[in-house]
Symmetry: C2
Subunit: 168 residues, 2 copies
DNA sequence: TTAAACTTTCAATAATTATTGAAAGTTTAA
DNA sequence: TTAAACTTTCAATAATTATTGAAAGTTTAA
């Protein structure tokens, strides 16, 4: 496999993976492109490489910056903005874990807690089951989120160490 | 909060969570409904509760069965099929981990491995970076997948134990 | 067997989500 | 200041994904 082929395959695969985990394809592909690019790329560069519009590029680059996995760079004597990916894989995982926990898991935990602690005068079968099952889900989700928090607050290489322990 | 309100809140929240992780809303909501239901429900019951069509119900119930987290049940002297959720939270996590690993992670790992092991005569900066970065991603994804495999092959309560160790 | 009671399939359509591109906004060099 | 070089916004549109519902298929009781 040649460089160009490998690059295209990686970018496209990353886009597909993103989609199946609820991440916009363009966002995932821009990330992939920057991830393997030795230097920062301009808006034009990204548009050109991925064949997407200026607006699309602008919005998705901003989202990546919001997620904390892409940075703006400037070049002396150049008015364009350039974008570079966070290159450390631990830090990438850390940021993604952090954002997904904050945006999606924590709100669900709040609801699960709320729903699993209803009190009804007449304790019907249905109510008991609701409480029991949502409580179980609350506990699982909570444990997984605490694990994500650990990843988020990791010191460098923490995750590798733990994962190693995990899989050994 | 009353039972009905709690139920609706749970079902709707589970649907939203599903969507943001790439799982069809109807599928997530049917799962939520069965998860908290003390008895198995018929197609009609599900259609009625969630206000969705017969076709939609049929397809998504089948998917849940494919995922191994919903079972068919029959009642003596009744021609309808009834559907019941796997009720054990560990087993639910186990099955979801298994399916997502198989369907989404493992194929990506294969591509990452392939892409990260290209060889080019002329080793340009770009090629080096591609290899380095996709290799790092390969290793991370692989570790996470091995972790999922552990969850998948867990004995009962294995996960709880490990998660406890993790978060303590 | 047959016909009633169910489930599944799938083309049409609706709903949602992503993308475009032009206009508006911003920044900076001169 | 101004105007060129950029970026962002957002309404319109395209693409994708989910849903419907009627027709076809299947199962079972009689």
């Amino acid at each position: 496999m040649k460089y160009e082929e490998a690059k295209d395959k990686f970018i496209s695969t990353w886009g597909v993976l993103g989609s199946s985990w609820g991440i916009n394809k363009a966002m995932a592909q821009i990330h992939a492109l920057l991830w393997i690019s030795p230097e920062a790329l301009s808006m034009e560069d990204i548009m050109e490489e991925l064949q997407i519009s200026r607006g699309n590029t602008s919005m998705n680059v901003r989202q990546l910056i919001d997620w904390g996995i892409v940075y703006k760079e400037t070049k002396a004597g150049d008015r364009k903005e350039y974008f570079a990916s966070e290159k450390n894989v631990q830090e990438l995982a850390r940021q993604v874990a952090k954002e997904r926990s904050k945006r999606e898991i924590k709100p669900v935990i709040r609801i699960l807690k709320e729903v699993s602690s209803i009190k009804e005068d007449e304790e019907s079968e249905k109510t008991k089951e609701l409480i029991k099952q949502t409580k179980a889900l609350y506990e699982l989700t909570n444990s997984m989120d605490k694990m994500l928090d650990k990843v988020v607050n990791q010191e460098k290489n923490w995750m590798t160490k733990v994962l190693m322990k995990f899989i050994s």
